[in-house]
């Protein structure tokens, strides 16, 4: 019974669209269908009846393609760039706010600046959660294989932090721009928490890995 098998594969191929692993996926389903049809002994069955049986056991080509799209939507590259860009957006937002606050006299910007600089502990906590989330998502999505990705994403994401920290420490950025934040104790806290980012990210990864299965 070749017709239902080919028809099912044709529909599945259509639903998968321009999928990069389409040929491999279809080859695996072709084997599965061949085994299933030989077991069903469908010589006595009508084609329509066979198709109904295939749909009932395998699921419809739309359902199968949806599962594949969901599975293949999470790629290492996408996940890596998502977190690098999120951290860059955080930095760009902070830089723009600092520049606007120091160079222009805008009431709304002043208000936002004062509100944010009055809650540094909360901002640090939220930022630590971001790094834990980075590790968690990579652990959950990529399990054992995610450890290299986590390290690579961490190194690339931390670059803006290191650059800003050095620019500030060596006074290439005027300390006055960050007042009232830049007390010696705040600088020490920042260095300490930056050193803590990797262990936090690692703990997030371990936690995520546990949820990967």
């Amino acid at each position: 019974m070749i017709q239902p098998k080919n028809e099912f594969l044709r529909l599945l191929g259509h639903e998968l669209g321009k999928h990069p692993e389409k040929e491999q996926i279809l080859a695996e389903y072709e084997n599965h269908l061949a085994e299933m049809l030989s077991e069903l002994n469908c010589d006595d069955m009508e084609e329509k009846e066979t198709m109904t049986e295939l749909y009932s056991r395998l699921g419809s080509p739309e359902e199968i393609a949806a599962s594949w799209k969901e599975e293949l939507s999470v790629t290492p590259r996408k996940t890596q760039w998502l977190f690098i860009i999120a951290n860059l957006v955080f930095f760009a937002g902070g830089s723009i706010l600092t520049l606007l606050h120091n160079l222009y006299d805008i009431r709304l910007i002043d208000m936002v600046w004062r509100s944010l600089t009055s809650i540094p502990a909360l901002i640090i906590m939220l930022y630590l959660i971001f790094w834990a989330l980075l590790g968690y998502e990579i652990g959950k999505g990529f399990g054992h294989k995610g450890r290299k990705l986590m390290r690579r994403t961490f190194v690339l994401s931390i670059l803006p932090n290191i650059i800003l920290m050095n620019l500030t420490l060596f006074k290439l950025i005027p300390h006055g721009w960050f007042q009232p934040l830049l007390s010696p104790s705040f600088i020490m806290i920042c260095i300490l928490f930056t050193a803590l980012l990797y262990p936090i990210c690692w703990a997030g990864y371990r936690w995520g890995k546990r949820a990967s299965v």
């Binding site: 695996e28 389903y29 299933m36 199968i64 599962s67 054992h144 299965v213």
Partner: protein
């Protein structure tokens, strides 16, 4: 038949367990699961392959092709060391969960109010 959501959350664990016993190809996994569960755990067979792909992406399993005397080559899956480690961890967690649930349910059965 069980609630599909309940099964969905444990498909990876079941697949790792079956592959921990021997290398298998997709159709063989489906038949083995059906046989072991007395036809109670019936997954939509088509969604099994994305689940296997995910485990492979996580390096918990790997695959190889094996030529057949009759018919096309089969894609066999085998568990990795990382897969065995995660299986031990998740099996322990699952058994603890079942034990706690049994205690809770037993208590509720004895005192339904």
């Amino acid at each position: 038949m069980f609630n599909r959501e309940l099964l969905k959350g444990s498909t990876s664990l079941v697949l790792l367990q079956l592959l921990n016993e021997r290398d298998m190809y997709g159709y063989e996994l489906v038949k083995e699961l059906d046989k072991r569960s007395d036809h109670s755990l019936q997954v939509k067979e088509g969604t099994l392959y994305p689940a296997l792909h995910k485990l492979e992406k996580q390096e918990y399993i790997e695959f190889y092709w094996q030529e057949q005397e009759k018919g096309p080559a089969r894609k066999y899956y085998r568990i990795t060391d990382a897969g065995r480690a995660v299986l031990v961890e998740k099996t322990k967690e699952w058994q603890q969960f079942v034990s706690v649930m049994n205690k809770v349910i037993r208590r509720t059965e004895n005192d339904p109010t």
